[in-house]
């Protein structure tokens, strides 16, 4: 379950797996690698990128500039 001002979304399993890895320290590449290892699959990149894009548009995610950390 993702809670935010004025709303909530009950995430499906894949969305939850992706989002719980978005911790402000890992890069997209690291997250994809982690998911590929966890689910023994090498075809997650497209889905992850599409999800991150739509989650950003919905305001579920903020991006951090690696140079600033």
């Amino acid at each position: 379950m993702l809670l935010f001002p004025e709303g909530m979304v009950r995430l499906n399993a894949s969305a939850a797996e992706i989002l719980r890895r978005c911790d402000g320290t890992r890069s997209t590449t690291e997250i994809i690698a982690d998911l590929e290892q966890r689910f023994q699959s090498d075809a997650v990149a497209t889905d992850v990128e599409a999800f991150l894009q739509s989650a950003t548009k919905d305001g579920w995610l903020e991006w951090r500039d690696p140079a600033a950390t």
Binding site: M1, L3, F4, P5, E6, G7, M8, V9, R10, L11, N12, A13, S14, A15, D47, A50, F51, S54, A55, T56, K57, G59
Partner: protein, 376 residues
């Protein structure tokens, strides 16, 4: 890929109307017009029991609203308990009473988010609509919320009197650093229904405001999320009201009455459970009132055989009752409703340059305990 999982029938969103006391007098208030009839407010202990029971049943989102929730001296205690139980806590406030001491207390108690209302982007109209001198105070409150690092939604109810200021309202939200702006076209219940002729915008006003919002969205990107609540009298399909009766949301009034939506008490023939007498679980699962409009067995035609019934669920029961006198009727906003002509007639009058609106014998009625007592 859709990110959303199917949702079971749980009161995931608990709306706690802590009090009907409010320093503001907005003529579009969603509180019932007869709020003066309300019995004694729930105690701190009673609220905490309700939070616990609802949480056990799956509630996660908690809206602390009113009236003005800051009128309750125990608000910090209630937030602390809700936070301890694991809720995402939202304070929905006019900002009146949110001084540094209370802000710090709330932040310390674990408050997650503040929704701050403005009535307009100008001091004159903000203060006229709320019948208070609060515009400058609200701006200071906004600064205080941002200083404490809490996410902030700015809310502004939109209507005939301020809809032409939408661009300035968005500018104000950007200026005060809100993360979200809720531009809520007035929904006609409670006080707003009473004042509808003053408040329902013209089609030209509505179209201009939508164009302004679309333009801003394109220019400002993700800096500010604008939630635009549509004016459903101008639609041809009804809204999926409250995400469906008794599916997701439970509203609890200051005296502990459990409702499927803020306005439901206008509906005749339903006895809503009191959480002073039954548990949240009993109210949600077993009460006749919460079960009354679940599913589609209650639906008459044209809804019953309509392929869109799973989308809009027949629309809003309170609106059906207010406009047709029948709470079971299809929401007359729908152009398939045999009563749709009633909505068209209201809209026609609002847009007819030959009609003097509002009628001189109908002054704007401000929300106040005195007017409420008079109207009961």
């Amino acid at each position: 890929m859709s990110a959303e999982a199917p949702v079971p029938l749980l009161p995931m969103w608990l709306v706690a109307e802590l009090t009907y006391r409010c320093p503001l007098h907005c003529p579009f208030c969603s509180n019932p017009v007869d709020f003066a009839r309300e019995r004694a407010e729930l105690t701190t202990t009673e609220w905490c029991r309700i939070f616990t029971q609802a949480r056990a049943l799956g509630a996660v989102q908690l809206g602390l609203t009113g009236g003005e929730p800051l009128s309750r001296a125990d608000l910090e205690q209630l937030v602390a308990e809700a936070h301890r139980l694991g809720y995402y806590t939202n304070l929905i406030t006019s900002g009146v009473g949110l001084n540094e001491r209370r802000m710090d207390g709330l932040k310390q108690a674990g408050l997650d988010h503040v929704q701050l209302s403005f009535q307009d982007s100008t001091r004159e109209l903000n203060d006229f609509l709320s019948s208070t001198r609060t515009f400058d105070l609200k701006r200071r409150t906004a600064a205080l919320i941002k200083e404490r690092g809490l996410p902030m939604v700015m809310n502004c109810v939109i209507h005939r009197l301020n809809i032409d200021h939408v661009a300035r309202i968005i500018d104000l939200a950007l200026e005060i650093g809100a993360e979200y702006l809720e531009l809520a076209n007035t929904q006609f219940y409670g006080w707003a229904y009473l004042n509808r002729e003053h408040l329902l915008p013209t089609r030209a006003q509505l179209e201009r405001s939508e164009a302004v919002v679309a333009d801003y969205r394109q220019r400002i990107g993700n800096r500010l999320q604008i939630l635009y609540v549509i004016s459903d009298y101008y639609e041809t399909r009804p809204k999926r009201c409250m995400n469906g009766w008794g599916t997701t949301i439970m509203v609890v009034t200051p005296d502990g009455t459990a409702l499927p939506c803020h306005a439901a008490r206008v509906l005749p023939g339903l006895k809503f459970p009191s959480l002073r007498e039954v548990s949240v679980q009993q109210a949600w699962r077993d009460s006749a009132a919460f079960n009354r409009f679940r599913g589609d067995q209650w639906m008459p035609e044209p809804c019953r055989s309509c392929p869109e019934k799973t989308k809009d669920l027949g629309g809003c029961r309170c609106q059906a009752f207010l406009l047709t006198g029948d709470p079971v009727a299809t929401d007359p906003v729908c152009d398939k409703s045999p009563e749709h002509g009633r909505v068209l007639e209201i809209v026609r009058r609002q847009n007819d340059p030959g009609t003097q609106l509002p009628a001189p014998e109908q002054p704007l009625v401000f929300r106040s305990p005195e007017n409420s007592a008079r109207l009961r």
